[in-house]
Symmetry: C2
Subunit: 297 residues, 2 copies
């Protein structure tokens, strides 16, 4: 696919769903270089080695990146600043660093603070892939196959570093595109961050109602689908929505306003605005499904 | 499963997803009586016969029920009053009538108005099953297998009529239970009606944003699951939420209040209440999944 030589050594900081799937995907693609993983506990280091995810697993990010030609920081957005600060002094001068964070402006600010003049070797990235599961056992080699991967280079980003990261994602099966970081944050606020807030909020609202056990007993498949993302990691998502508050808040406020209008129509028994809104939604959702699958679901 | 003799003739008013699946399920269970369907157009009547759903398809509800020992009214909640009024004069004196509406107090009121003294032979029912699809081609014989079916008899309901309807659902594979009608409406407002409003509202909010095409381009699997129910029938659902307004409004208002609190926390950068809410939601959702599947998803 590319004639670029593969990186001699790759360090992955964090072997959860995202980082663990990168490691598994590289193994499945017969990556021949050295693969080093960094995890938070010695138990996880043992597990990573037992699963064959990496050649070596360490618990100190600086140890992990020493000598690595490519570093993938696959930690929650809320941990990004601390990890980048930890690894900065240990990075090889020509090492390329990338991340997988769900927000890009916040991570770019963290990277500038940590890497200083080395910011040109940092490539902000975000694979649009995941499940509601997390942890070292959650990953799988095909997570990124045919999934979009958005890279959000800044004016400082080296073209060579960008190409290295693009090649990494292509070998994992990703469909790489570039986007302005601020625009990325707005788009993801709408399609990912807001839906997570809404799903968490719904399940929490219902769970705090008196009849909660029985309520869930009578929930059907539609409810299971609608609330699947409410099984995601709570800390990860509270970090994401606060890191991207400036993009999440306007769309959340617009949504609450739209919901208030629907509430008013329901209270008034006025079906016309309900049918209009539900009809526009069905039309948009059916088109989304068709463009996604090439067919209706 | 039961020694009750099967009804000599069953009329199903409406052969969409719900009614069509009842017809298909009865066929699959080798129902030997006469099966008559009522649809809205002669095209649909032709299609119903071509699909082998029924022995005869008509477009007049009164024609359909003449001579039937069991009548299943499988029309949208908003059409229930008119259909019950249409069939009332044509019903055999001992005919059992049941419905499949997603709201029960409104249908019981419609049935009392239409059937008068015959209300004892009316058994309010609601199969908790469905997909986001609708129409005569949407049904399938196994839709009700292992699904909950809630019957909400009133003090007037004949025990014999109740047993007939219970047997119908059991032969389709349903898990039948009884519930107070008002309580049914509260439980379904929380687990079904509110989620539909939220999903429709989200897709409509996003569809009306300027960048909408691109927004949907970058949506991932979580978004597809979250918005699946927004592909449901708009008129059907605006009928349901207005028919059940008294139960939908309190839980919708509670939800908007909870969302406002989360919005405040995001605006303040206060992660603690976000993590607490998201954590409670994940806990409840994981328990729901375990009790549903006997395992985690």
């Amino acid at each position: 696919m590319s004639s670029r030589p593969e990186p001699e050594s790759i360090a992955i900081i964090g072997l959860g769903l995202i980082g663990g799937s990168i490691a598994r995907g590289l193994r499945a693609d017969n990556y021949r270089g050295r693969l080093v993983g960094c995890v938070t506990t010695s138990d996880h280091a043992e597990r990573a080695c037992a699963l064959g995810l990496v050649d070596a697993a360490v618990t100190d990010p600086a140890d992990a990146v020493r000598g690595a030609s490519l570093v993938v920081v696959a930690v929650p957005v809320g941990a990004m600043a601390a990890v980048l600060a930890d690894i900065a002094p240990a990075l090889a001068p020509d090492a390329v660093v990338t991340d997988v964070g769900s927000t890009k402006l916040s991570v770019i600010a963290d990277a500038k603070a940590a890497l200083g003049a080395g910011i040109g070797r940092f490539v902000p990235g975000h694979p649009i892939a995941g499940t509601e599961h997390s942890g070292i056992d959650a990953g799988f080699a095909t997570l990124y196959r045919d999934r979009r991967v958005i890279l959000t280079p800044t004016p400082e980003t080296d073209a060579d570093a960008l190409a290295t990261v693009e090649t990494l994602w292509q070998r994992l099966g990703g469909r790489v595109s570039e986007m302005d970081p601020a625009h990325h944050d707005e788009v993801l606020a709408a399609t990912s961050h807001l839906p997570h807030v809404l799903a968490f909020a719904l399940v929490d609202t219902l769970a705090r109602m008196a009849e909660r056990t029985e309520i869930f007993d009578y929930a059907a498949g539609g409810f299971a689908d609608f609330t699947r993302i409410a099984s995601s990691d709570p800390q990860l998502w509270s970090d994401i929505v606060t890191a991207n508050a400036s993009a999440v808040l306007p769309v959340l406020e617009r949504y609450i306003g739209d919901l208030e209008a629907l509430r008013g129509a329901i209270a008034a028994g006025d079906k016309e605005p309900l049918e209009a809104s539900f009809g526009r939604a069905k039309h948009a959702r059916d088109r989304f499904t068709q463009s996604r699958n090439g067919t209706s679901e």
